[in-house]
Symmetry: C2
């Protein structure tokens, strides 16, 4: 198995080529660090983009929604979808607006979406999405009811093409601009979790598990 995705027309990065990579490990690491994928598909009169949570196993991304949701029905019908996961890492204040930019990690994936209809396979995919979004939670809660599985639409998207772009480097200003009396630097940005908030209807004095507690006050 290749460690890189093949470079084809769809995933070939043309802008800022020096920041691009087709390395599978890099693609996976960005997918695994994100929480929301923006999924594009075509409706009657043009492209639509919808935020969805997801999970990954190997080269397959799993997406879910209500079984009757428009996005599930449209993904079910199409043989080509695209999604992007972007993590913002900072704002780069260069000495001109032209050279100012963002620090980010971004992945774009293309593939053919397939709906999963078998209930056992759906459950496995739902666990992968749950493990990605709420690590450890799957085994803490009750089993899913069969009607819940049936009401959930699960799409698997095998990655056919992918590319990643990482912008993290130093500021690159025009030579003559370095003499300007203007500050330049980076404002870091992180996704940060806060303190767990108890539901109002907890019974007894029940506490979150260690696995859930570990998610408090951390950075993505």
């Amino acid at each position: 198995m290749s460690i890189n995705y093949e470079i084809k027309k769809a995933n070939k990065v043309k802008q800022l080529r020096e920041k691009s990579t087709y390395n599978k490990k890099t693609v996976y690491s960005i997918l695994d660090a994100g929480l929301v994928a923006h999924v594009a598909f075509n409706q009657d009169d043009g492209p639509v983009v919808v935020p969805m949570i997801y999970g990954r196993k190997g080269d397959t991304i799993f997406l879910h929604g209500a079984r009757k949701a428009r996005i599930i029905r449209l993904l079910e019908k199409t043989n080509r979808a695209s999604l992007n996961v972007t993590l913002l890492d900072g704002i780069v204040f260069a000495r001109s607006t032209f050279n100012s930019s963002m620090q980010y990690r971004s992945v774009t994936v293309f593939g053919s979406p397939k709906i999963i209809l078998d209930n056992e396979k759906k459950l496995s995919a739902m666990k992968i999405i749950s493990d990605h979004t709420m690590p450890g939670r799957w085994t803490e809660v009750r089993d899913s009811h069969l009607n819940e599985v049936k009401m959930t639409g699960v799409i698997k998207l095998k990655i056919a093409d992918a590319s990643a772009k990482i912008s993290s480097g130093p500021i690159e200003d025009e030579i003559e601009d370095y003499e300007l009396r203007v500050w330049a630097g980076v404002l870091p940005i992180t996704m940060q979790t806060g303190t767990l908030q108890d539901d109002n209807h907890l019974i007894d004095n029940i506490q979150p598990s260690d696995k859930i507690k570990k998610l408090e006050n951390t950075r993505f």
Copy 2:
């Protein structure tokens, strides 16, 4: 002028209708709080989604990229584009995975993209994007060179249809699940800025302006 966007087929929210709104003020407030828009467009063999920074003035969204960038060239040619801005506010741990969800604010916009070719109008749009992304920075740095303006592709997207979805409410579990001995609650998530990092090539002992300093250690 209506305070709401008209409900049409493209922007009509069908899932979680109770969380949806077509109110312009709400749409604007989410657009103004975000930093990255995910823009969908069609390439030869299907939909593609690309993260872009943006700015807003009234009912118009401005997007920019390199003049020769694929997305600018494709947006220039198409008469229909869609973008989504999503801000993640938390993970909702319900007593079942089925009722677990995310807290978020999300806006989807549809419109007809037009490229701006006039240099003065381009500059105005570039200022709007800069003011959105780096408040106050536009007047601190040198003026843009004409060739920089020419190398920048700027797209204006007048909002034709839009809808917002806000999920912030309490956990809604199945009645019988409230008796389960399992913790439930919310893990808040915020986009958080850190401490400004000086560029390595600052002259003298130049400091960031108060406007830039104000962006440190704050939440979006």
